[in-house]
């Protein structure tokens, strides 16, 4: 299977697609799914993910969805033309995730609030971390920082209870 080998660096999977302007719900639906997958947008209608069994399958289903909505789509096995090109791609994706992790860390640190709201925030931010983690192919250092911030927020409540 392409890309399933953990040492098989350099294998990417691309989706090229074209969707009619209307209905816009189809366009928005596809766009949301691409965003959830954390794709690198290479050009209009061209997105990329590091290849593994899961990313390939997800892009194939999306290709089908595009076709079902009257568009055209093709899934490609691809290899960036050189390590430099791949590194730039990976860095851009890593930076996109870093921004998401920073947003989580900021929310964790600014959550003062009462006990109930704090617990809800912890739960929500942990869900957010899981979601980001699933589309995080090149984890940036911000990941550990965000986890720590949320863990600290969770622990701050136990602390208060213990000193009460």
């Amino acid at each position: 299977m392409p890309g399933a080998d953990p040492d098989g660096a350099g294998a990417w999977v691309l989706l090229t697609y074209r969707l009619p302007r209307e209905p816009s719900t189809a366009r928005v639906g596809v766009w949301r799914k691409l965003k959830r997958l954390g794709v690198a947008q290479l050009a209009d209608g061209v997105v990329a993910l590091p290849a593994d069994a899961r990313t390939r399958e997800q892009l194939e289903w999306l290709a089908d969805e595009v076709v079902e909505n009257g568009g055209a789509a093709t899934v490609w096995d691809a290899r960036p033309g050189g390590r430099h090109a791949e590194r730039e791609l990976a860095e851009a994706m890593s930076e996109a995730r870093a921004a998401e992790y920073r947003a989580v860390a900021d929310q964790a640190r600014s959550a003062g609030l009462d006990e109930g709201a704090r617990q809800n925030t912890v739960r929500r931010l942990r869900g957010e971390l899981r979601k980001i983690g699933r589309r995080d192919y090149f984890p940036p250092p911000e990941r550990a920082e965000a986890r720590r911030a949320v863990d600290e927020l969770a622990a701050s409540g136990e602390h208060e209870e213990a000193t009460r």
């Binding site: 299977m1 639906g29 799914k33 959830r36 069994a53 899961r54 399958e57 194939e60 289903w61 290709a63 089908d64 969805e65 079902e68 899981r130 699933r134």
Partner: protein, 143 residues
């Protein structure tokens, strides 16, 4: 009857195979292929691009099979929510079990071939069915 799907199964395919055996064809025989062109002429393909029993209109293949065979069992539709979220993760349903079930199937897939994987996941889905059947009767989580 023979049924065909892509080799190296994940959650949607193992769940479909279980569902097919349970409610569509108890003597179902499964064939695993690397490429759609390898599907035997006498086999019904599922969870593959371009076939009827696959992803359609935002549904995963498990949901498509339930619809195609007009299966209304609420317990199977509850399991469908878990399979959908484990496979597509699009937050259409609230299924907190999904990531756990997905990890279990992925983990077994790392140490089993497809035939062995089905023999292990069969009891898992039988158990989930019983669990959600009791939950439906009780109106709360069974102990």
């Amino acid at each position: 009857m023979r049924w065909a799907t892509r080799a190296h199964m994940h959650i949607d395919r193992v769940a479909c195979a279980w569902l097919i055996r349970r409610v569509v064809d108890e003597d179902a025989e499964f064939v695993f292929v690397a490429d759609p062109a390898e599907v035997p002429a006498d086999a019904t393909a599922f969870d593959m691009r371009g076939v009827e029993l696959s992803h359609h209109g935002g549904d995963c293949s498990f949901e498509t099979i339930l619809r195609r065979y007009e299966i209304t069992d609420p317990v199977l539709w509850r399991i469908a929510e878990i399979v959908h979220e484990a496979d597509l993760d699009d937050e259409r349903f609230d299924a907190p079990e999904a990531p756990g079930v997905d990890v279990v199937v992925r983990a077994l897939g790392m140490v089993c071939d497809d035939v062995t994987l089905l023999s292990h996941t069969g009891p898992l889905f039988d158990g989930l069915y019983e669990y959600y059947r009791r939950a439906t009767l009780l109106g709360r989580e069974p102990s």
